[in-house]
């Protein structure tokens, strides 16, 4: 330390000295060196490097999605802790707590709305974050494991949402959890004992509420906190991929993180806090009648993020719809960075011009393909009916599954013929499957009416 730093100015008042002593470095540094030191020595800011590549500050590269997840997590933690004080996790009292939140507790509705909408938004933003990283090649070496942790975090976020879904103990909650947990029942061998453990019995009841409450307020948040810390630490160590145009060298000019990055983050956070508060003020979180285990609503749907899975289950034998297809998808997602060897295109959106067109084409094909598949299967295709001598795991499982895989392999070869590199072909295949899954989710949410019959949402 220099003499200048250690010397206490004589005329400084005690309150001012106490305030300054909170932070190791001056709050208003005067030069770049001071600004870098301030970031390095700050408890919160030190998740950032002291300098940031100037090009990486470009908003339409990251869209601030990772940061937004951190903000949503913080909002959820604060509102969640508040809600603990107004909620009783028992079947007799849970629904009354919700009514009290709406009618008696000061700002009860606002806090619940904030928590509800932030939680749902978090699922959407986590998926968008995954897409952003995927399409800019942000998972290539040395970031493969961080990609895997990101997927684990996405699953935990969905788990947090799902366990929270039950807590209001209304009809919506009760039956969405019943249907959602029953999907797990189809897993061979471990499915049934796992369901019993999760539900604390054979049906959703008091024990389920206790289990889900414990998972929702302690286990899952702690797991997310730990894993997210690891995730962010790896981002910091592996460094962010630098955006660039095709055939352009990455611009490695760096600026000090304080204020160039921190000010953008600050404004971004404020804008989103404003959006969340406005939304939570005007749009109420849904609350239906109190749960009635004897009366299922028609139709009974799982939570919205599981509707793609439920839709899949309507077309395939459960072993395939609930296990094999999602399992293969998840496995592919974990494996993809370890297959990717094209480091030259990292930081370029969709890898190349060709990659961009193929991805766009695949996305459209996914939407059309999923709709066509659902309609054909709904109104024409009836393999179990045509082949009644086969068990349904073959007629409604292996046969359509084999057909689907053949189509995908054919598409992969066609992509290769269209001069796609291996990583562009994988990218297009991922795009096709992802867009088909989103389409199935939308069909499940909006195009399924009474008895889960196909309907048009506008009629």
């Amino acid at each position: 330390m220099t003499e200048k730093e250690t010397q206490i100015p004589e005329k400084e008042s005690l309150p001012k000295r106490i305030f300054k002593s909170i932070q190791r470095d001056p709050l208003a540094p005067e030069d770049d060196r001071g600004r870098m030191k301030m970031v390095m020595n700050s408890l919160i800011l030190h998740i950032h490097p002291t300098k940031t590549p100037k090009a990486a500050l470009k908003f339409n590269y990251t869209f601030g999605l990772g940061g937004l997840l951190l903000l949503l997590g913080t909002v959820l933690a604060i509102t969640g802790v508040l809600l603990i004080f107004a909620y009783t996790p028992s079947p007799d009292a849970a629904y009354e707590s919700m009514i009290a939140l709406q009618t008696e507790v000061f700002f009860g509705n606002l806090i619940r709305n904030l928590h509800h909408w932030s939680g749902n938004l978090m699922v959407v933003v986590a998926v968008l974050h995954l897409l952003r990283v995927f399409y800019t090649g942000g998972f290539t070496k040395p970031r493969e494991f961080n990609w895997a942790m990101g997927i684990a975090l996405l699953l935990l976020i969905v788990g947090a949402n799902f366990t929270g879904y039950l807590l209001p103990w209304d009809q919506l909650a009760y039956w969405a959890i019943t249907v959602g947990v029953s999907l797990l029942d189809y897993v061979p061998l471990v499915g049934e004992p796992l369901t019993r453990l999760l539900l604390g019995g054979s049906e959703v009841g008091a024990a389920t509420l206790t289990n889900f409450y414990g998972l929702h307020i302690a286990i899952i948040p702690l797991a997310i906190f730990g894993l997210a810390s690891f995730h962010i630490w790896r981002v910091r160590k592996d460094k962010i991929t630098i955006p660039r145009k095709i055939d352009e060298k990455a611009n490695k000019t760096r600026v000090t993180t304080m204020p160039y990055l921190v000010s953008i983050e600050f404004v971004f956070a404020l804008v989103w806090i404003a959006i969340l508060f406005l939304w939570a003020t005007f749009v109420n979180a849904p609350l239906e009648e109190a749960a009635n285990p004897a009366h299922s609503p028609n139709p009974a749907k799982a939570a919205w993020y599981f509707m793609g899975l439920q839709e899949l289950l309507m077309h395939f034998h459960p072993l395939f719809g609930a296990i094999i297809i999602p399992g293969m998808g998840l496995f592919g997602l974990f494996a993809i960075p370890y297959l990717d060897a094209d480091m030259d295109s990292v930081g370029v959106w969709f890898r190349s011009v060709n990659g961009r067109w193929l991805a766009l084409f695949s996305a459209n094909l996914g939407v059309i393909g999923a709709f066509a598949f659902v309609l054909v299967d709904e109104y024409w295709l009836d393999l179990p009916g045509w082949l009644p001598f086969l068990p349904s795991s073959i007629s409604n499982g292996w046969i359509p599954m084999a057909g689907l895989l053949l189509l995908l392999i054919g598409y992969y070869e066609a992509l290769k013929a269209m001069k796609a590199t291996a990583c562009e072909a994988r990218q297009s295949l991922f795009t096709l499957l992802f867009s088909a899954f989103i389409t199935l989710t939308i069909i499940g949410i909006y195009f399924r009416g009474e008895g889960m019959a196909f309907i048009l949402p506008w009629s």
Partner: protein, 158 residues
């Protein structure tokens, strides 16, 4: 066999002790969290009274036990669990048509629980039925009995 050095032996011993400790703790945790049996309510036994009280060809809902007591035309009894085998909805019995029709995803079952209309993958589950010395029907709801096909052997005869 190669001679095990003292260092390797101690390393193995530490590893084994660690694995044992983790297994024990997992077992304790698993048993602690596993569901408990509930007496008297759903999950326990139900005494439904004399069997003669139930007319032939009747389906009687037992709300607390979450099952239907079915008496077939031939006098046999079945205790059919209310939970749909597709995705767990509560299946109501339609007295007019004499069928179980699930409101959620359209599965239809006969009064014996056999699947008439998919997506349900298997017949409705059963609960164990027995009779005590006074001729009263006893239904044990502790664990549902799954079946791939309906069979005459499922039916309990008084």
């Amino acid at each position: 066999m190669e001679k095990l050095s003292r260092r390797d032996f101690l390393g193995l011993a530490w590893g084994a002790a660690g694995a044992l400790a983790i297994t024990e703790l997992s077992f304790v945790g698993f048993k602690f969290l596993s569901p408990r049996a509930t007496d008297g309510e759903f999950g326990g036994e139900f005494n439904l009274g004399a069997y003669e009280d139930y007319p032939l060809g009747s389906v009687t809902p037992v709300e607390m036990g979450r099952f239907y007591l079915v008496r077939l035309e031939n006098g046999g009894f079945l205790a059919i669990y209310r939970r749909c085998t597709h995705l767990g909805c509560a299946v109501p019995f339609d007295q007019a048509t004499g069928k179980f029709t699930c409101p959620c995803h359209g599965s239809v079952f006969t009064n014996e629980g056999d699947v008439l209309n998919q997506p349900a993958p298997r017949p409705l589950d059963l609960f164990a039925l027995s009779m005590n010395e006074e001729g009263e029907i006893i239904v044990n709801t502790s664990s549902p009995i799954q079946r791939d096909k309906t069979s005459v052997e499922d039916v309990f005869h008084a």
